[in-house]
């Protein structure tokens, strides 16, 4: 109904009759659809294939909800939407130019696919070949444009009418937001955007709906509760278990109902690092002794129970006991595709629930509470003190490890982490980068207790996610006054340096600290392993893995795009004061970057 009410409302009607003028273009209606779908932002690289829609957002929609976020590369646009969705808890849209733009965007869409993140990708295409101008417009169209990303979007469509567009967009958004959440793609036909809407009063935009996530069935939940209550050493493993703050609270209740240790694989903020049952860094020991493993939204269950070594022959071995009882609750069981390997190696579980873990936890907690016998309650209570002791030992071991190399130059990643923590711990903050590259110090040392304080990693390990997603997450943080912190690998930044311009252009406050180890370090280690294992030149790893001769001046790079920056900083004593200056910029509402020369990991 929004369309019927708004179409034409902005239009004077005078130009319809003037030759060469279009006063009521279809893309205005498309903006109505985006507004009805509560799309606040559209990240985009400007595109002739989407020129009608871009103009409608800017003029007809007044560039407000949705507002255009200008990105110099389609990969950045999708990455921005990826980070935003995880922080805001809802999708934003991104517009990518026809064939070549979608090709640029494809890696970032794959990251979002692997990370189970909803986002609305809008592409441009022109179905009617007779309406394409010769040359470029033919090159930038395709018979089945979505084919190139169909393996890693949940739904795609190329609507042939405006009504079709409205219905398909709403269907796509509902599918995208239903666990397992995934990206979707809608192609906006060029002619449909640009010719006048026919009979606008007949157009109707379906209401946006929220689809209930699937819960585990009562029988399976009761069986899971019985297995967990009978366990002597239950372990809970989580990856993307929490979808919202409520998911964190539920996991705490579940773990406390059993006094079971939790191993957090950090796909999301699942379990507070301050809780005595967060035993993430005791994973190997816990899995060796576990008699029951409860896996909640774990993408790689095989990798929890087993391991494969990067040594010649790639031998694998079982980590868990042969008779461990495994329970898996995940929406991954509901939906998968064949071509790409994010499905991981198959691992059977004794009890498998094709269900959303967060939605299933309330009934599982209730079943455990109701089913606990007096003897079991005593046994569970007896686990609390040893769990608390192990937790404190784990945290203090991390603290001792962080002290090693404290005064080293290049600066240790532990020192980098703690210099930041000292200055933001009393603020409202969020870590919007992947801690994998800096030895997970934040998860080992910081007090991460709220859902929005961490958003997980890239999902697909596609470089270019880091800064792009940080921009999107910081955009979502801006409205709630939350300081977004991005510890930025140098190799990742070199993929998408122009995202710095987006930060400056839109005045998005983001504190970026370079993790500048002057290498594509993961590959450095791979190449060193190759040369040494082959017993020949042990220094061949230097070719192609080091970012040197020249070193990149990231501060100069940031400044050139309008971002406040300092560095390079390699003396640890200078880091704290520099962070203070950078934070002052961020608190004023602007982005800041510090180039910190760091240890490799």
């Amino acid at each position: 109904m929004v369309a019927a009410e708004t179409m034409g409302g902005m239009h004077s009607g005078h130009s319809e009759d003037l030759p060469g003028h279009v006063s009521n273009p279809g893309s205005d209606f498309m903006v109505d659809v985006l507004k009805a779908a509560n799309i606040e932002y559209v990240a985009m690289m400007t595109s002739s294939a989407l020129r009608g829609l871009q103009e409608s957002i800017a003029y007809y929609g007044k560039n407000k909800a949705p507002e255009l976020i200008i990105c110099p590369h389609e990969e950045i646009a999708v990455g921005v939407a990826h980070g935003y969705a995880k922080m805001a808890g809802k999708p934003m849209a991104c517009m990518v130019h026809s064939t070549v733009g979608l090709m640029h965007a494809s890696m970032a869409i794959y990251n979002a696919w692997c990370d189970r993140v909803p986002l609305m990708v809008i592409g441009g295409n022109t179905a009617d070949a007779t309406k394409r101008r010769q040359g470029v417009e033919w090159i930038h169209t395709a018979v089945d444009q979505a084919a190139m990303v169909r393996d890693f979007v949940k739904f795609d469509d190329f609507p042939g009418s405006l009504q079709h567009f409205a219905e398909s967009f709403m269907r796509a958004q509902a599918l995208s937001m239903t666990p397992p959440m995934e990206p979707v793609l809608i192609l906006a036909d060029g002619e449909l955007q640009e010719v006048p809407a026919e009979d606008p009063k007949s157009l109707k935009i379906p209401k946006m709906v929220e689809v209930s996530p699937p819960e585990g069935d009562a029988r399976s939940v009761a069986k899971a509760a019985a297995i967990l209550l009978a366990a002597k050493n239950p372990v809970i493993v989580v990856d993307r278990s929490a979808r919202t703050a409520e998911g964190v609270g539920l996991l705490i209740k579940l773990a406390e109902a059993l006094n079971a240790p939790v191993v957090d694989q950090c796909g999301r903020m699942n379990m507070p690092t301050t809780h005595y049952l967060n035993h993430t860094w005791l994973k190997a020991k816990l899995l060796r002794s576990a008699d029951v493993i409860l896996a909640l939204e774990v993408g790689d269950l095989w990798g929890v129970v087993n391991t494969i070594s990067d040594t010649p022959g790639r031998p694998s071995k079982r980590v868990a006991k042969p008779d461990v009882r495994v329970i898996s609750i995940s929406t991954n069981h509901l939906y998968s595709k064949s071509n790409y390997g994010d499905i991981q190696r198959y691992q059977e579980a004794e009890l498998t629930m094709a269900a959303d873990a967060q939605a299933t936890m309330p009934s599982l907690i209730e079943a455990i509470r109701k089913g606990t016998t007096a003897a079991q309650a005593t046994a569970i209570a007896a686990r609390k003190q040893p769990m608390q002791a192990d937790f404190l030992a784990m945290r203090n071991a991390a603290r001792d490890a962080a002290a090693l190399g404290w005064d080293a130059s290049p600066i240790s990643t532990a020192r980098l982490s703690q210099e930041i923590w000292a200055q933001i711990k009393n603020d409202k903050w969020s870590l919007v980068s992947d801690p994998f590259y800096v030895s997970y110090w934040q998860h080992r040392l910081w007090d991460i207790s709220e859902y929005k304080q961490f958003i997980g990693g890239s999902g697909g390990y596609g470089l270019g996610y880091g800064l792009s997603a940080a921009v999107g997450a910081a955009l979502a943080c801006k409205s709630e006054g939350r300081i977004a912190i991005n510890i930025q690998p140098d190799g990742d930044l070199l993929m998408v340096p122009s995202a710095l311009w987006t930060l400056a252009h839109h005045k998005i406050p983001l504190l970026t600290l370079m993790h500048n180890n002057r290498a594509w370090h993961q590959e450095t280690m791979h190449l060193q392993r190759m040369g040494t294992r082959r017993d020949r030149n042990a220094e061949s790893w230097r070719e192609g893995t080091l970012i040197e001769e020249p070193f990149v001046d990231y501060a100069m790079m940031a400044k050139s795009m309008g971002v406040w920056a300092e560095g390079p900083i390699s003396d640890p004593a200078l880091l704290g004061p520099a962070i203070k200056r950078a934070l002052a910029v961020v608190r004023s509402g602007l982005p800041a970057l510090l180039d910190v020369v760091t240890q490799p990991r």
Partner: protein
Amino acid sequence: MNLLKKVSCAALLGIFSQVVAAADSGHDLYMKRGCYQCHGTVGQGSIAGPNLLPKLMPYAAFAIYVRTPANQMPPFSEKVLSDAELRSVHAYLASLPASPAADSISLLPKAGGK
């Protein structure tokens, strides 16, 4: 007597110079052979490899491990790292100053639990 003292001092200085030279060349090898990649430039360790300090293995055990490592570390043969070079690497690690204790670092508060 004075002559004896002078000779002893010269000998000590010579030994000291050799140790420093070994440590210097060990640092160079530690970097060029890529030990730092997983263990950090001062042996502090990382998520990719364990810390080598503060409890540095005695040389004999250190050498056995480097030649026949467990887990995913590649074996370093004498061809790519001679015994003399390996001794230099060990000397480099042994020469490093101790890191400060966690208790002395204000940015590393003791853990509490909830």
